[in-house]
């Protein structure tokens, strides 16, 4: 489903006189369809950067990211046309990042229901499913109509997770989705991810706590330590 071939990422900092900073080097890995791959490694080893390259938030410096798209067939996400990446994101991918990028002035319920509405589901049914999911993640009903910009870190992260999983994407990218969640909510999230896998979602994720990583991944990929 997803295969990284000798993927490397360097950052060139022009304000530092063109200094090069290595994100990661020559990563190769595979995630078969329906499987979950956990990525481990110390802080600064480039785990998040790998995920951002897959989502094309970062441009890969060299190497390939082969993804088997439902709509476009085999696509190299590192080099594909922007409109193709844009459509794959919208139709097939979900992404949960460490930090919620809050959409301003949209209620929590609308943020979560939006992917279903965009896919053509009726608004009331989309809202109902969003409410069930938010409730399951422990967001109090009174907050459904509030703007998540005012929420606590943990609440924002739960809204973020709900939005990414509500439509069971073909590929889900997770960057420490449970970093600011308590034990109980983390368990709920892991349960939701298990259900997604049963629906066939392929996942690649970074988790900091080793026990959660083990529970999440069918396989674990360890980032090579960085050469200095």
């Amino acid at each position: 489903m997803l295969e990284l071939e000798n993927l490397s990422k360097q950052f060139i900092m022009h304000h530092l006189g063109g200094k090069t900073i290595v994100g990661f080097k020559n990563i190769s890995l595979r995630v078969p369809p329906g499987c979950s791959l956990g990525i481990s490694g110390p802080s600064g080893s480039g785990k998040s950067s790998v995920l951002k390259c897959i989502y094309r938030t970062y441009l890969s410096t060299s190497g390939n990211i082969w993804y088997r798209s439902d709509r476009f067939g085999s696509v190299n996400l590192a080099r594909a046309e922007l409109n193709v990446v844009g459509m794959i994101r919208e139709l097939e991918m979900g992404s949960i990042t460490q930090f919620l990028k809050v959409i301003p002035r949209v209620s929590a319920l609308d943020i979560v229901a939006a992917p279903l509405v965009m896919a053509g589901l009726e608004k009331t049914e989309a809202d109902r499913r969003a409410a069930v999911l938010l409730e399951r993640l422990g967001i109090p009903r009174i907050l459904f109509d509030a703007y998540p910009a005012t929420f606590s870190g943990g609440e924002q992260q739960r809204v973020n997770i709900a939005r990414a999983v509500i439509k069971a994407p073909r590929l889900l990218i997770l960057d420490e989705p449970t970093a600011s969640l308590d034990r109980w909510t983390t368990k709920v999230v892991l349960q939701i991810l298990r259900e997604l896998r049963q629906k066939g979602t392929t996942m690649i994720g970074v988790f900091h706590q080793p026990d959660i990583l083990k529970e999440f991944g069918d396989e674990i990929f360890t980032m090579p330590s960085r050469e200095h």
Binding site: M13, H15, K52, R56, T57, L82, N83, G86
Partner: protein, 289 residues
């Protein structure tokens, strides 16, 4: 899948022009040609836009971003380049008196002024930074909207009033004030009237040139939310010019960065903002407060 709008090699040069400044790789002095002093407002700009997409154009003042919009809106003539539009004519309906096929074959910059005006009146909408450019301040608000409808061929006053009032409702301007001139309105309301006017003919392309610059923060937020919801509701293919990265992030999926008339970087908006490649884009991103 074909893009609905293809722009290729678009340049605009003010001044005498010489062989050097026609070369898009020439080293410039600011935005001016070193040899003949011509000002290169746009140089070799190319991009494709797909149906329903929102493209952002960022850059400093004087980078050529507004000039580019003016070229696309046929407000100024290009020095060189091509513009192709691919629209489903069956869906669009017939435009009486307009005989150019919009099948992507014709370079629309080569049309005659009459054809350009028709295309602009029927298929394009523009919102300017300054309401003084987009509206006539002394005629009624309804008249401002009606004027566009007349240009697009509408002849019934009753129909025009009905359309104007429903558009004003949609853009949250009280339609009871339709007979007042826009000069009586606040800046935020004037921008709303401009949006209503731009949308009156059901355009396929919407151009926004710094639509909220100069408005105070809460008004800016409400106008942006209105633009965003209208864009999604109508599936409008849109180009937004702004120097404000927050607005670009909020509205667009793809972004082009311009400097001295040239496109120095283009990509998905989150990529341009989080992993900027060009020196100038890095400076721009690092300059946000």
């Amino acid at each position: 899948m074909n893009p609905i709008l293809s722009i290729c090699g678009v340049s605009k040069i003010y001044g005498p022009q010489c062989s050097e400044c026609l070369d898009s790789r020439a080293v410039l002095k600011g935005a001016a040609c070193r040899r003949c002093g011509s000002v290169i407002a746009c140089s070799d700009v190319c991009f494709d836009l797909y149906d329903g997409e929102v493209l952002g154009i960022v850059g400093e003042s004087g980078s050529g971003k507004s000039t580019l919009l003016k070229l696309l809106y046929f407000e100024e003539a290009v020095t060189s380049g091509s513009m192709h539009l691919r629209l489903d004519m069956a869906q669009l309906g017939e435009i009486p008196g307009f005989d150019v096929a919009l099948d992507g074959e014709e370079n629309l910059f080569l049309m005659n002024p009459f054809q350009k005006r028709m295309l602009r009146n029927r298929l394009m909408g523009m919102v300017y930074q300054s309401p003084h450019l987009g509206l006539k301040m002394n005629i009624s608000t309804g008249g401002n909207i009606g004027e566009r409808l007349i240009m697009a061929g509408c002849r019934s006053v009753a129909k025009m009033r009905k359309r104007a009032s429903s558009l004003l409702e949609r853009t949250e301007v009280p339609s009871s004030r339709m007979d007042e001139p826009p000069r009586n309105f606040s800046g935020g309301m004037q921008q709303r009237v401009q949006i209503a006017r731009a949308l009156s003919v059901n355009p396929r392309l919407l151009f926004l040139d710094e639509p909220t610059t100069g408005l105070d923060l809460s008004v800016q937020a409400r106008v942006l939310d209105l633009i965003k919801s209208l864009q999604q509701e109508l599936g409008l293919t849109t180009i937004v010019v702004s120097h404000d990265l927050g607005i670009i992030k909020h509205l667009t999926t793809r972004t082009m960065v311009m400097k001295d008339g040239r496109v120095v970087e283009a990509g998905l908006t989150d990529q341009v903002l989080e992993d900027p490649q060009h020196e100038f884009t890095q400076l721009l991103v690092n300059s946000t407060l």
